[in-house]
Symmetry: D2
Subunit: 356 residues, 4 copies
C-alpha cells in the first residue's frame, strides 16, 4: 500500500536522527500489526484494525508506564480511567473505525481470556477515527476476526503505512491519509533513547498542511488534486497518535510526551477542529512492571533530561503524519467517492523552495 515515505522524496522534518526503520518499531519490543479490509460487496468496506503491541505482546503481564492527552476529545479511546488512575498500560493499543471500537475492545478481552494472559479482567485501550466517507461504516464491516488478525500479524521492523489497518479509509488535510509512523533517537542522561510514533491521520484542511513550515497544502493546490469535499463542508476527522519510548519514564512523564504530540500536529497544520478526536497516548518500556509484584525497583530520568525526548516526540509526530500522506494511495470507495493521494511532486517542489 505504501507509495513512498517523506524521506524517499528528499524531504524531512526536524533535526534529530531517525531510528533504523524510522518507525515506532524502532523502540525495542514494540510490534505493529494491521488487518486491512477492502471489499466492494455486499457493502463497500475501506477499513481495518491496527495494533501497536508493546513488549512483543508480553504487555498483558509486564505493563508499561503510560500517560495520555486529549487535545480535542471528539473521539473515543477506551481504557482511559484505569490508564490515568494507575499510570499503566496492560494491553496492546488498537486503532480502528469509530463505529466498531466496542467490537475491537471486547475482542481483546476475549483474547486475554482465551490466552489466559490475565487474571480477572482487563480494560483494553482502543481508539478510532471516522472513515465513513470512503467506507460504508454503517455496515459495521469488521468482525472480531479482523481484530485478532491485526494482533496476529504484529511484528517488528518496517511498518506498512497509508491505506492499511485502521487507517485504510482515512483522509488527512483533504488528501488520502491513513497510518504513518516515524522515530527519533535522542540523547538524555548520558544514553541514547528512541522515541517512536504511529498515527492514524484523518483530520485537517488542505490549506493548513505544512512541510517543515512550508505551506505544502496551498502549494499542492486544489487544481492539481481536487478535494474530497469541494463544497467546503467539513467532514468528521480525527488523529490518534501513539508514542512509544524505551526511556525509563514515569506515568507523569509519559503524559508530558503525549502533550508534545500537539506540537507535531500543529507543525503539520492541525488546529484541533471541533469534530476531531485528537487523542494521544504515550508509553515507556524502560521499566518492567510484571503483574502482581508487591514491590518493584524502577528507574526514572530526571525531568530536566526530557527536552530531547520532547523534541523527538514533536518531530516524530510531524513526520509520521507526512509519512501517512506520502504513503497513502488514491482510493475510491463508498458511493464512488475518491480521495486523492498527495502528489509526490508537490512534496519535491515545495521542498525545493525551502528558504534556509
Amino acid at each position: 500500500m505504501t507509495r513512498a515515505r517523506l524521506r524517499d522524496l528528499g524531504a524531512a522534518v526536524g533535526s534529530l536522527p531517525p531510528g533504523p526503520a524510522n518507525a515506532i518499531t524502532d523502540v525495542s519490543g514494540v510490534w505493529v500489526g494491521h488487518a486491512t479490509v477492502i471489499r466492494d460487496t455486499p457493502r463497500v468496506a475501506r477499513t481495518g484494525v491496527t495494533m501497536v503491541v508493546p513488549r512483543e505482546n508480553e504487555v498483558w503481564e509486564d505493563y508499561c508506564f503510560a500517560g495520555w492527552f486529549g487535545f480535542n476529545g471528539n473521539g473515543e479511546m477506551t481504557g482511559l480511567p484505569w490508564l490515568e488512575e494507575s499510570g499503566m498500560l496492560g494491553s496492546p493499543v488498537a486503532l480502528t473505525n469509530t463505529h466498531q471500537v466496542g467490537l475491537v475492545r471486547d475482542a481483546l478481552v476475549r483474547y486475554s481470556v482465551e490466552q489466559g494472559v490475565v487474571e480477572g479482567f482487563i480494560l483494553p485501550v482502543v481508539a478510532e477515527t471516522w472513515d465513513g466517507w470512503l467506507s460504508d461504516i454503517d455496515a459495521f464491516p469488521l468482525s472480531e476476526h479482523d481484530a485478532l488478525a491485526a494482533l496476529a500479524a504484529a511484528g517488528s521492523g518496517p511498518v506498512p503505512e497509508g491505506n492499511v489497518g485502521g487507517g485504510t479509509g482515512m483522509i488527512c488535510h483533504e488528501f488520502k491519509g491513513g497510518i504513518g509512523t516515524a522515530s527519533r533517537r535522542c540523547p538524555a542522561a548520558g544514553e541514547t533513547w528512541t522515541v517512536g510514533v504511529l498515527v492514524q491521520a484523518n483530520y485537517g484542511d488542505r490549506v493548513d498542511l505544512r512541510l517543515d513550515g512550508l505551506p505544502l497544502g496551498r502549494l499542492a493546490g486544489y487544481d492539481r488534486v481536487p478535494s474530497p469535499w469541494p463544497g467546503g463542508r467539513e467532514e468528521p476527522g480525527s488523529i490518534v497518535a501513539v508514542v512509544a519510548t524505551d526511556a525509563p519514564l514515569l506515568p507523569v512523564q509519559c503524559a508530558r510526551l503525549a502533550r508534545r504530540a500537539t506540537v507535531g500536529l500543529a507543525r503539520a497544520g492541525g488546529v484541533g477542529h471541533n469534530s476531531s478526536g485528537d487523542l494521544f497516548l504515550a508509553f515507556a518500556t524502560g521499566n518492567h512492571l510484571p503483574a502482581h509484584r508487591p514491590r518493584r525497583g524502577l528507574e526514572m530520568l530526571d525531568h530536566e533530561q526530557l527536552n530531547p525526548l520532547f523534541a523527538a516526540t514533536a518531530e516524530a509526530v510531524e513526520e509520521a503524519i507526512l509519512n501517512a500522506l506520502c504513503a497513502a494511495e488514491t482510493m475510491t470507495g463508498f458511493r464512488g467517492r475518491t480521495a486523492h493521494a498527495l502528489p509526490p511532486e508537490a512534496v519535491s517542489e515545495a521542498w525545493a523552495r525551502r528558504p534556509g
Copy 2:
C-alpha cells in the same frame, strides 16, 4: 426481583424528602430499562444491561449537560473524552458487565444508525462492573439484542432494583448487590428541584457497611449470613453511579454533583478499593440542547444555590446503595457459588439501635 426497599424496612437516610417513586425516574423524562439474563445452560449467566435514558429517549437529538468524576478509575466508562470536551451527553447511559462494554457500546451506535437519530457518529456512554463470581463472564453471555431490549424496556415510574439488568450478578459489601435507585427533592433559587440516582453496586467489605452511620455490616455479622469469599480474598468490585437532575446546571456544575456521589458512597462504607471502578456521571435536563443550533439560550443556577443539590446527591447515592442491598435476593450462580441477601431483620435491628 425486588424484596424490599430501605424505607419499607422502616429505615431511611438523609433529611431531604424523596420524590414520588424515590427513583431516578422522578427526574422528569428520565427512563430506566433493564434486560436481565439469567440462565444455567449452556453456561451460567447472571448478567444484563441497564439503560438510563434521558428525555424520554430524545437525548440523541436534544443533549443534556453532563459531567463526571472518577473516584477510582479501575473500570471502564466509554464516551468520556467527548463528554468532558463538550460537557454534553448525547446518548442513553448503559450499565453492563465488564467484558461486554464494547458490545453494548456498538449496539447503541447501531441503534442510532438504524433509527436515524444522529448524523455522522455518536460516542455512547457505557459503564460496567464485574459479575464474574456469579456469572460465567468469560462466556460473553450478552448479545446486542439484550442491549436493545434494555433500551426498548425503558420507561418512567418505579424502577426494579436488585438482581436486574446490569446489576443482576453483582455483590456489594459481601451481600448480594445490584441495581439501586433513590431520589431527593430540594429547594434552590426559589424552586424545588429533583435529584435522582441510580447505582450498579458491586463493591466493598462487609465490615465497612453503614446505615445512617450505624455499623450495619458488623451488626449483620458473618455468622448470620456467610460472605461469598470467606477466605478474605478481595474480588474485583466497583460502583457506577448515574446522577440526574432537572435543575438547569452547566457542565462544570454537573461535575460538581458527580463528585458528591463520593460522599454518599463513603457514608455507605465505600473506600474506593484499588480494584474498584468508581465512576460517577451526572447530567442535567434543565436546559434543552437541540443538536445543530448555532446559538442557544440557556439558564443556570448560581453556584451559591447548589448546596441543597449537593446534599441531595449524597443522600440519594447513599440510599440507592442501601436500596440495592435491600432489594437484591440471594443468588446462586457460576460454579454453585452463592451470594446471600442482606437480611431485612439486620436492617431493622440496626435501625432500632439508633442513638439519636
Copy 3:
C-alpha cells in the same frame, strides 16, 4: 491550646493502629511548625501559619513524590501546576488565612534565596482557609516573619492542635475548629507503613458532624452550645488536608491517597459546600529524589498493595478532624464574636451510645 484529643475522651475512629504520636510527624522526617498570632490591638488577629515540612527541611533539595485532589475548589493552593506536571513536591507545605497566601508563598521563595537551598526558582505550595469571622482578616495581620517563624518552629513529635498556626481562627461544624492531626500504621507488601494527616478544619454544618457514624452534631445540640451563626447564614469554610506517608509511592499513587481524604471528610460529616475549598495534598517520602540527578533508582508498591494505605488515609483524616474539634478551645475574637468549643462530654455521651 490543646484541651484534649479524641482518644483522651475515650473515643476513636477506624480500626488501624495510630503511630506513637498519632500525628503526621509519625512519618519519619516530617516536621510541623506553627506561628500563632493572637492579639486585640490595633486590630483583632486570630490567625497564623502552619508548616508541614518533609524530610527534616531537606525537601528543597530532596523532593518528595506528590499528588493532589480538589474535592471542591473554592480555595487556593499555590504550586499546583508544577506539582501536577512533575509529580514532585520541593518545598514545605504552608497553611494560612485566605488573604495572605501570597505573603507566605513569597516568604518561602525568599527563604530559599537566602538559604541558597535551590537554584533558579521554586514554586511553593501554600493553602488557606478563611478565618475572617474571628479574625479581622482585612487587616492582613501576618508578616513574612510569621511565615518564617512557623518554619523555624518546625519539629518532630507531638503536634499542637486546635487554635494554633493556620488553624487559630477557624470554625468547623459550627464549633471552634483549627488544626488537627492523626496517623495510622498499616501493612503492605510485607512491611508496615505510616500514613499521617494534618488538617486545617474550617468547614461544615453542625447537624452533619459524625463520630464513627454517630450523629455527634445533633447530639451535641444547639442548646448546649450555640452556633456562631444562629441565623443559619453560611459562612465561607474550607478544609485543607495534608497526607504524608513513608511508603514508596509514585505520583499517581499519591493522588490516589489524596482522593481518599474525601472519605474521611465525608465520614466526619463534610459534603463539600459550594463556598468550601477542600483541597488535599499527599506526599510520599519512600523514594529519595535528590535534585539534578540525571537518572534515579526508585521503588514502588504495587497498586494492589494500596488498600491498607487507602483505609489509613480515610481513618486518619476522619480522626484529624475530630482531634481539631476536641483540641480547640472556645475563642472570642473580631467584633466580640465567639466560637464555642465542642463540649468534651458531648463526645463521651455520644460514644457511650455506640450500637455495636
Copy 4:
C-alpha cells in the same frame, strides 16, 4: 518601548483579519495596564506587572466564564482551583515575575477589600515568568504599589508591547522578549466575534523560532545577534497567554480555546521545555454573570461553531509572540548582561523568501 509590530515590518501570520488595535483590547471592555520597573540602584530591576482587566474593571462583580490549560506546568498561576471548579473568573489577570506572584496576588485581595468590590474573599489569578537573567529577581524589586499602578493604568486601545509591565525583563527564543498582543475577527453563528490574546513571552530556543513557517531563528543567525547564553545553557523560560473573546462561550468552551494557544505557540517554535511554565487562560465576556443572582439567563454558541474561534486563537497567539519579539528593544541589565532585540531586517529578509 515598542519598536515595531510584525505588520509594521510587512509580515503577518494567519488568514483572519485583526481587530482595529490588533490587540486583546479589541475585545470590548478588556483593558490592559502595565507598571514597568527599570532601575539600576540599589539593585538592578528589569521587571513589572501587567494587568488584563475584563469588563472595564467590573469583573469583580460581573464574572466572566473562563477555562485554562497547562501545556507545561513549570510555572505558577494562582486562582486555578476555583477557576476550574466554577468556570468563572472574578478578578483581573495579573502577570509578573516568578518570585513575586504572592505580592501581586495579595495586592489584588487588598484592592478588593479597600474598594469594597467583593463580599467575603476573592481568589485572584496571577501568573509569572522568570526574569532573573536581566533583573536581580532575588532583590524582590516590586511593591504592592506597582501592582496597583498596573491596575490603575489599565485602559482600552493600543497596548504597549515588548519591555513593559510583566514582560520587561523577559527573553524569548534567545532574543529580547516580553509582552505581545494581537487579535482576530471571525465569523460564527451569523455574527462576527473578536478573539484577543496577550502573551508574556519568555521561552524558547532561537533555532526553533518560526515566522509563518519560515525558520526565522536560523535565518536571523547567531553571528548577527549573539544569544544571551552562548554556552548553550538553558535558562528557565515560560510563556503565559491570556485569551479573551466577546463570544458567548461556556467554561468548557473557554478551556477549548485555551488549549488552542498551544497551536500558536508551536507554530512560533515552542516545544514546551521542561523548565517552562506554559499556562494559558481564556475568558469570554459574551455572557454577563453578575454576582449573587440565584438564576441567570445565558447564551452559548454551539460547539460546531467554534472552528473559526479556534483558528483565531492560534493565529493571535502566534502573532502576539512575534509582536513581542518585534517590539522589544535590546536591554542590558543584571550583571551587565544583554539580551538583543530581534533585528527587524531579519524579519523582512525572511518574509521576502516566502515560498508561496
